[in-house]
C-alpha cells in the first residue's frame, strides 16, 4: 500500500502538520521556556513602573558575550549542515567548537556577575534592589538553560562517535540546533530588553 498516494486520493487531509512528534513536543517545550521568560520580563516591567528602582550600568562584558553566542550559533548551524552532508569529522569539530563557545559565554556571564558585585549590585540581602535581583534572575535562568544545552550538545557529540548522527538520523542534532538558536535568540532578546528598560 502506498500511503502517500492514498493521501492524495482521499480529499481528507490526514496529517495537516506532519512534523515528527518528538520534534513537535520539543517545540512545545521551547514554548514553556519562552513563557517563563515572558513572565519574568513582564514582572520586570510592572515592578519597574512602580518606582523605587535602582539604576546602574549594565556590565559591558554583555556585549562580548552576545558576540560569542552569535558566533556559537553559526558554528552550531555549520555542525548541522555538516551532519546533513555526512561529513562526520566536521560535525564533531563544529560541535566541539560550539560547546567551547557556549562555555565561554557562561564564563563571561559569570564575570558579569562579578562586575555587578563590584558596583554593589547584589542579588539579595541588605541593600539589594529588585532591579539588580531581576538581572541576576534573568541571566541565571538563561544560564541554567544554556548549561542544559551544553549537556545536550555533549550528548550529541557522544552520539556522533557512535555513528548515530548522520544525514539519515538528524532528529537529535536538529533539536539541539533549534535549542541552541533559541537560547541564543533568547539572550539577544533579554539583552535588548535590558538595554531598553534600564
Amino acid at each position: 500500500m502506498n500511503q502517500h498516494e492514498l493521501n492524495l486520493q482521499s480529499s481528507e487531509p490526514q496529517k495537516p502538520l506532519s512534523m515528527h512528534p518528538k520534534k513537535f513536543a520539543f517545540w512545545l517545550f521551547l514554548v514553556t521556556v519562552l513563557m517563563i521568560f515572558a513572565a519574568l520580563t513582564s514582572a520586570y516591567i510592572v515592578r519597574r513602573a512602580d518606582g523605587g528602582w535602582l539604576e546602574f550600568q549594565l556590565p559591558s562584558i554583555f556585549w562580548l558575550n552576545s558576540v560569542i553566542i552569535v558566533i556559537s550559533s553559526v558554528t552550531m548551524q555549520l555542525a548541522y549542515f555538516a551532519a546533513k552532508k555526512d561529513s562526520l569529522e566536521k560535525t564533531k569539530l563544529y560541535l566541539l567548537l560550539t560547546s567551547v563557545l557556549g562555555l565561554a559565554f557562561l564564563v563571561g556571564q559569570f564575570y558579569a556577575w562579578g562586575d555587578l558585585v563590584e558596583i554593589n549590585v547584589f542579588f539579595g540581602g541588605k541593600g539589594s534592589n529588585p532591579s539588580g535581583s531581576f538581572l541576576y534572575v534573568l541571566t541565571g535562568m538563561h544560564g541554567l538553560h544554556l548549561i542544559s544545552a551544553v549537556i545536550f550538545l555533549w550528548v550529541v557529540f557522544a552520539q556522533s562517535f557512535k555513528y548515530k548522527v548522520h544525514s539519515k538520523s538528524m532528529l537529535v542534532i536538529e533539536c539541539c540546533t533549534t535549542y541552541w538558536h533559541f537560547l541564543g535568540g533568547l539572550w539577544i532578546y533579554l539583552f535588548g530588553f535590558l538595554l531598553l528598560n534600564h
Binding site: Q9, K22, A25, T32, M35, A39, G52, G124, K126, S128
Partner: protein, 615 residues
C-alpha cells in the same frame, strides 16, 4: 517512540505491541501505556479527593461548632488540638491544603490526567501517546509532588498556611505564621514538581492530538472531549510556566533575601531589611496562571459532558462548531481577565474597569455553551444513566455558579463581596462542584472501557441525588453569609457580633457537607466493587459513536488488535433520519449508510472510495 513510528509508517507491524512479556513492574507500576497511566491518575485523584474532602470537614466542624470540645480528634490531629480547641493557625493550614489539593491534585491532575490520558489516544485513533516515556515521567513527577505535599501535612510546624494562592508577604516570611515555615518550602517544592508534571503531560496531549490522529480524523471530526483536552493542555502550557516563575521569585525572597514581593515590613516592632518589592506583583503573576487554571479545571469536565449529553440524549450535539468556538474564546479570554481577582488589591481603578469589561465578556461564550447543552437535551430521547445525571448536574452548577461570577465581575460589587463567603460559594459551585461532577460523570461513563465491567446504576442514582442536593445545601447558603459580609478564611463565626446570627446556617452547611462527603463512599464502594465483581460490559454499552467503543471490551496494549479504524464522519450522528440505528459510529463509511446521507455526504462517498480502494 515505537508507537509513534509504527503509527506513522504502517499499521501492520503489530508484533511490537505484544508486550505480554513485560515484567510486572513495567506493566502496572512504571507503565508507559496510556490506559494504565490514566488509571494511576484516577486512583491517585480519588485518594487525594478523600484527603482533601476530609480536611474540609475538619474546618467545617470548627466553623459550625466553635465552642465544641474537639478532644476526640486528638488521635488524628495530635498537638493541633490544645485543650479541646483547634489551633487557629492550623485552621489556616487546613484551608490552604484543602484548596491546593482540590484545585491541583484532584481537579487538574485527577481530571485531565485521567481522561486526557485515557481518551485522547482512544478517541483519535492512536496506539498510544506520542511519548509513553514522558507520559510515565509525568505521572511520577505528580506522584513525588504528592508525596512531598503529604509529608508537609505531618511536620511539626504544619503545612503551608497562607491560602492556596500563597500571597506574600504572609507566605514569604517564616516569622509570620508557622505555616510559612518548612510547610511553605515543601509546598513550593511540591508545586514546582507538579508544574513539571503538568507540562510534560500537556506537551504529550498536544503533540498526540496534532500528530497522531487516524486517517480521516480531521479537526472538525474530533469529539468535543478531545477539543476540550487539547485546549486545556494549551492553556496549561502557557500559564503554568508563569506560576513557576512566580514560585521561583517567591523562593528567592524566602531564602536569598531578595525583595521581589516584599517591602518595608515590620514584624514585632523589628524592621526587616526588605526594600522595594511589590506584593501586588505576585498577585498579577499568580492570577495570570490562576484564572486560566480555573478553566484548566473546568474545560475537560465540559468536554466530557458534551460527549455524555449527546450520547444519552440520542441527538447530535447542538452547535458543534459553536462549542469549539466558545471553548477557544474562553481559552483566549481566560488570559486577559486575571485582575478581576485583584479589584481591591490597590490596583489602578481604571485598569479595574478594563478588566471588568473583559471579564463580563466571558459570560457570552459561557452562555453559548450552557444553551447548547440545554438545546441538545431539548426533546431528546434522554437516557438517565448516572453519567448523564452527573452531566446534567454539571450544567446546573455551571449556570448557577456562572451567574454569581457575573455579579463578582462588577468591580463595584466586588468591593463588598471580595474575600467573603460569596466568592467561596461562587467558585465551589462553578469550579469545584461542576468539575467534580464532570469527573464523576466521566468515571461512570468510561468505566466499562477502563475495567471491562459496569458500575451499579442504582448506587449511582443514590450517589447522584445525595451529592447533587448536598452540594446545593452546602454552597447555596454561603451566598447569604457572604452578602452579609462574613469574610472567608476566618477561624470563627462567633468572633464578631454581626456574624453570631449565622451560626445555625453554618451548622446546616456542616451537616450537609458531612452527608455529602459520606455519600462519596457509596461511589467508592461501587467503584471498587465493580472493578472486581461488576456486571461484564459489552464493547459499546452506551451505543456511542466515538472510536474508543470500537476497541475490544478491555483494550490491550496498542488499543486495537488489528488496524486502526478509519474515520468517515463526525462523532454525533445520533438519531439520523433514515438511518437503521439511532447511532452511526465514526468508522462507518457513508457508502454503508446511503439511506441517511445528506447530499454533501454523498459527495464525500466518492472521496471515500479512494480510501477503500487504496486498501
Amino acid at each position: 517512540m515505537s508507537v509513534a513510528e509504527s503509527h506513522l509508517h504502517d499499521h501492520h507491524d503489530d508484533h511490537e505491541h505484544d508486550h505480554h512479556d513485560l515484567p510486572w513492574i513495567k506493566k502496572y507500576v512504571f507503565s508507559e501505556d496510556h490506559k494504565v497511566i490514566a488509571k494511576q491518575y484516577l486512583i491517585s485523584g480519588i485518594i487525594w479527593a478523600i484527603i482533601g474532602g476530609g480536611l474540609s470537614l475538619l474546618f467545617r466542624l470548627q466553623l459550625a461548632y466553635p465552642d465544641a470540645n474537639f478532644e476526640w480528634l486528638k488521635p488524628i490531629l495530635g498537638g493541633w488540638i490544645q485543650n479541646g480547641k483547634l489551633d487557629p493557625e492550623f485552621y489556616l493550614a487546613l484551608v490552604t491544603m484543602h484548596g491546593t489539593i482540590m484545585v491541583f491534585f484532584v481537579l487538574t491532575a485527577g481530571l485531565s490526567g485521567t481522561f486526557s490520558n485515557f481518551l485522547i489516544p482512544l478517541q483519535i485513533g492512536a496506539r498510544d501517546m506520542a511519548s509513553g516515556f514522558l507520559n510515565m515521567l509525568s505521572y511520577w513527577f505528580f506522584f513525588v509532588s504528592g508525596v512531598i505535599m503529604l509529608i508537609s501535612l505531618f511536620i511539626e510546624t504544619g503545612p503551608a498556611g497562607g491560602g492556596w494562592t500563597v500571597y506574600p508577604p504572609l507566605s514569604a516570611l517564616p516569622q509570620a505564621i508557622s505555616g510559612s515555615g518548612l510547610g511553605m518550602t515543601l509546598w513550593l517544592i511540591s508545586m514546582a514538581l507538579f508544574i513539571v508534571s503538568t507540562l510534560l503531560g500537556g506537551l504529550n496531549y498536544i503533540t498526540t492530538v496534532i500528530n497522531l490522529r487516524t486517517k480521516g480524523m480531521s479537526f472538525l471530526r474530533m469529539p468535543l472531549t478531545i477539543w476540550a483536552f487539547f485546549i486545556t493542555a494549551i492553556i496549561g502550557l502557557l500559564s503554568f510556566p508563569v506560576l513557576f516563575s512566580a514560585a521561583l521569585l517567591l523562593i528567592f525572597d524566602r531564602t536569598f533575601g531578595t525583595s521581589f514581593f516584599l517591602s518595608d515590613i515590620y514584624i514585632a516592632g523589628q524592621a526587616l531589611s526588605f526594600e522595594g518589592g511589590s506584593p501586588v506583583l505576585f498577585q498579577h503573576l499568580f492570577w495570570f496562571l490562576g484564572h486560566p487554571e480555573v478553566y484548566i479545571v473546568l474545560l475537560p469536565a465540559l468536554g466530557i459532558t458534551s460527549e455524555i449529553v449527546a450520547t444519552n440524549s440520542r441527538k447530535p450535539i447542538f452547535g458543534y462548531k459553536a462549542m469549539i468556538g466558545s471553548m477557544l474564546a474562553i481559552a483566549f479570554l481566560s488570559f486577559i481577565v486575571w485582575a478581576h481577582h485583584m479589584f481591591i488589591s490597590g490596583m489602578n481603578p481604571f485598569l479595574g474597569s478594563i478588566f471588568m469589561f473583559l471579564t463580563l465578556i466571558i459570560a457570552v461564550p459561557s452562555a453559548v455553551k450552557a444553551f447548547n447543552y440545554i438545546t441538545t437535551l431539548w426533546r431528546g430521547n434522554i437516557i438517565f444513566t448516572p453519567a448523564m445525571l452527573f452531566s446534567i448536574g454539571l450544567v446546573s452548577f455551571f449556570i448557577s455558579g456562572g451567574l454569581t461570577g457575573i455579579v463578582l465581575g462588577n468591580s463595584a460589587a466586588d468591593i463588598q463581596l471580595h474575600d467573603t463567603y460569596f466568592v467561596v460559594a461562587h467558585f465551589h459551585i462553578v469550579m469545584g462542584s461542576a468539575s467534580f461532577f464532570g469527573m464523576l460523570a466521566g468515571v461512570y461513563h468510561w468505566f466499562p472501557k477502563m475495567f471491562g465491567r459496569m458500575m451499579d446504576d442504582k448506587l449511582g442514582y443514590l450517589h447522584f441525588w445525595i451529592t447533587f442536593i448536598g452540594v446545593y445545601m452546602v454552597f447555596f447558603p454561603m451566598h447569604y453569609i457572604g452578602i452579609a459580609g462574613f469574610p472567608r478564611r476566618y477561624y470563627s463565626f462567633t468572633g464578631f457580633d454581626f456574624t453570631q446570627s449565622f451560626t445555625d446556617l453554618s451548622q446546616i452547611i456542616t451537616i450537609a457537607a458531612i452527608v455529602t462527603f459520606a455519600a462519596q463512599f457509596i461511589f467508592l464502594f461501587n467503584f471498587l466493587f465493580s472493578i472486581f465483581k461488576g456486571r461484564r460490559a459489552t464493547e459499546n454499552p452506551w451505543r456511542s459513536n466515538t472510536l474508543e467503543w470500537t476497541t475490544p471490551v478491555e483494550p490491550g496494549h496498542g488499543n486495537w488488535p488489528g488496524a486502526i479504524p478509519t474515520v468517515y464522519r463526525w462523532a454525533y450522528d445520533y438519531s439520523k433520519p433514515g438511518a437503521e440505528d439511532d447511532f452511526i459510529p465514526q468508522n462507518v463509511p457513508f457508502s454503508e449508510t446511503k439511506g441517511s446521507n445528506f447530499p454533501h455526504e454523498n459527495e464525500q462517498m466518492v472521496a471515500e472510495a479512494g480510501i477503500t480502494h487504496g486498501k
